[in-house]
């Protein structure tokens, strides 16, 4: 497929919309395990991104610059745990995008693989720690494996997002080991990790954006 700069911007716009829709849910998850602000934080961050998409990035065609701007804007607007994590992911993806205005299948797979590596490096969490890594690592591994084996990017993303979903749901029964809920011990069982949820939602929005491409 050909994923243009506009497609990329549209994807980020769709994330903005999804976050507004899901922010109360995300905050509710965070109230159980943390400080109740994950939805608020995501909303603040993505609203700031939205302003950039409507202004400075309106005519930007360089996918690297777009991704970097989104990263910096998000980080700058929110800080908190997810600022550095998502921003680092987006900056690594930005690097992969190689200043191109159109990304091909390989680019997209590498973008997201680099995204996940970036989040992992910044946060240092592993699968089983009850964080967004429980969503992102299965996603990334499935994505890379599937694409390597089949060469089919769409299908690879589809499987990967399914793995992401299962990863997110697995956080329900995990004992938290990182972040605010890691201090809960046994009490951290029974609720989905908020970051794992937001990561899954973002990935599934991306999957939707690929699928809608294919209708052209």
């Amino acid at each position: 497929m050909i994923y243009s700069a506009n497609d990329l911007k549209q994807f980020f716009k769709n994330v903005v919309e999804m976050i507004e829709d899901k922010k109360d849910y995300l905050s509710e998850l965070d109230r159980k395990l943390g400080d109740g602000d994950h939805g608020v934080t995501m909303s603040i961050g993505w609203q700031a991104v939205n302003e950039q998409l409507d202004s400075d990035l309106k005519d930007e065609e360089d996918c690297t610059k777009i991704s970097m701007a989104v990263a910096r804007t998000f980080l700058s607007a929110v800080g908190s745990s997810v600022g550095p994590l998502y921003a680092t992911g987006l900056l690594r993806g930005a690097k992969i995008a190689g200043n191109k205005s159109e990304l091909n299948d390989s680019d997209l797979v590498n973008y997201w693989a680099a995204f996940v590596d970036g989040v992992k490096e910044r946060g240092g969490a592993e699968v089983g720690d009850k964080t967004m890594m429980d969503t992102l690592i299965p996603f990334s591994e499935t994505l890379k494996k599937q694409f390597t084996e089949t060469g089919e990017a769409s299908l690879a993303f589809e499987s990967a997002v399914e793995a992401a979903k299962q990863g997110m749901e697995s956080t329900k029964d995990l004992l938290s080991k990182k972040g605010r809920s890691s201090r809960l011990g046994e009490r951290s069982k029974g609720a989905i990790d908020p970051g794992a949820a937001s990561a899954y939602l973002i990935l599934s929005i991306f999957l939707d954006s690929i699928k809608s491409l294919q209708h052209y």
Binding site: S27, K32, G79, R183
Partner: protein
């Protein structure tokens, strides 16, 4: 939960605006970053800069502690959210007088990452930065993993001693030494009675029954270690002290500073009733209270509850605790 505010999305920036307008003889905002506030007052040439910061919602912490004898600058995050690296870096730049900057922050995932990134950026600009964490909350991890502990009200003592040390002209390494020694000698534990709510959601941060309390609640509303029937003030104080003293035993003749900190809606009456028991327990043990602080020092919006902090003092720390301070939300002669 009702609040006096305008658009909830603007609470932090409006609070900062009001704060700057209220105390222009103390503080100013960076023209480059609206979340960086620094002292307006001349500090001594070559003074080590002290930067503090964290999420808002804890006022007086953190922005209230910029002033003489405390911090020179603060980076202000969204409510219960670490500031991003930019305002932290900007604060470090503004307070650096060539002798380096000490940055004090809590041990939360967000703080560690954002302050860490800021430190890297500062070093790329040739500012010597050292960071010191506060890990005083004994409820948040066992002794064997104390480096994982949260920073709660004990951060106030870190600001006090590091700020005093810097004002006395200590070199960077000694300010760091003092801050670390403070942290090693400070233990806290809290109890929650009633929730706070974020302006943007209006939802209570946690749920407790009418007769419940939660020991070890975090000061952002993070769940604690034990929910149970609410007990008397003396019983609660005994329990908090028990855990603190189990972790940092004190002996007859030891000298401490005490902080009984209100989380927001707990009255000073209750805080002094709690303090009364703390003093009884310490007196029984032959521990001398050098100085006491009772009030709202590190709140959690309108949360009900309080924390007890004990800091073991040697001669140096006692002197630094006694050192004067003058900030919009804290003055000591």
């Amino acid at each position: 939960m009702k609040k006096l505010m305008n658009d909830p999305t603007n609470v932090v920036d409006e609070m900062i605006d009001g704060y700057l307008k209220a105390h222009p003889t103390y503080i100013q905002q960076s023209p480059k970053n609206s979340r960086t506030i620094v002292t307006v007052r001349e500090t001594k040439p070559g003074k080590v800069g002290v930067v503090i910061g964290g999420g808002s919602g804890h006022e007086p912490g953190f922005m209230g502690y910029v002033g003489d004898g405390m911090a020179d600058g603060v980076a202000i995050g969204n409510i219960f959210a670490s500031p991003s690296p930019d305002p932290i870096l900007e604060a470090a730049k503004l307070v650096d007088k060539g002798s380096g900057v000490v940055i004090l922050h809590g041990n939360y995932a967000g703080d560690v990452m954002n302050f860490g990134m800021a430190k890297e950026l500062a070093e790329m600009e040739d500012i010597r930065v050292e960071t010191v964490l506060t890990t005083d909350d004994v409820a948040s991890a066992p002794k064997e993993e104390s480096e994982k502990r949260r920073g709660i009200a004990g951060e106030f003592f870190g600001f006090k001693t590091a700020g005093a040390a810097a004002d006395k002209g200590y070199h960077l390494d000694d300010v760091v030494r003092v801050a670390k020694k403070t942290n090693e000698n400070t233990r806290s534990m809290g109890v929650g009675l009633s929730p706070c709510s974020l302006p943007q959601t209006g939802e209570p941060s946690f749920v407790l029954e009418e007769n419940e309390m939660e020991i070890g609640l975090g000061h952002h509303g993070e769940p604690g270690i034990e929910k149970g029937q609410i007990q008397s003030a003396d019983q609660v104080a005994d329990r908090l002290l028990n855990d603190i003293l189990a972790d940092m035993p004190l002996e007859k003749g030891d000298n401490v500073a005490v902080l009984v900190n209100g989380l927001g809606s707990t009255t000073r009456m209750e805080l002094y009733i709690m303090f009364r028991r703390v003093e009884q327990v310490l007196k029984e043990k032959g521990v001398k209270i050098h100085r006491s602080y009772v009030g709202d020092y590190m709140t959690s919006l309108e949360m009900g509850g309080c924390s007890i902090t004990l800091m073991k003092l040697d001669e140096e720390l006692a002197e630094l605790i006694d050192y004067p301070a003058d900030c919009p939300m804290f003055v000591q002669k």
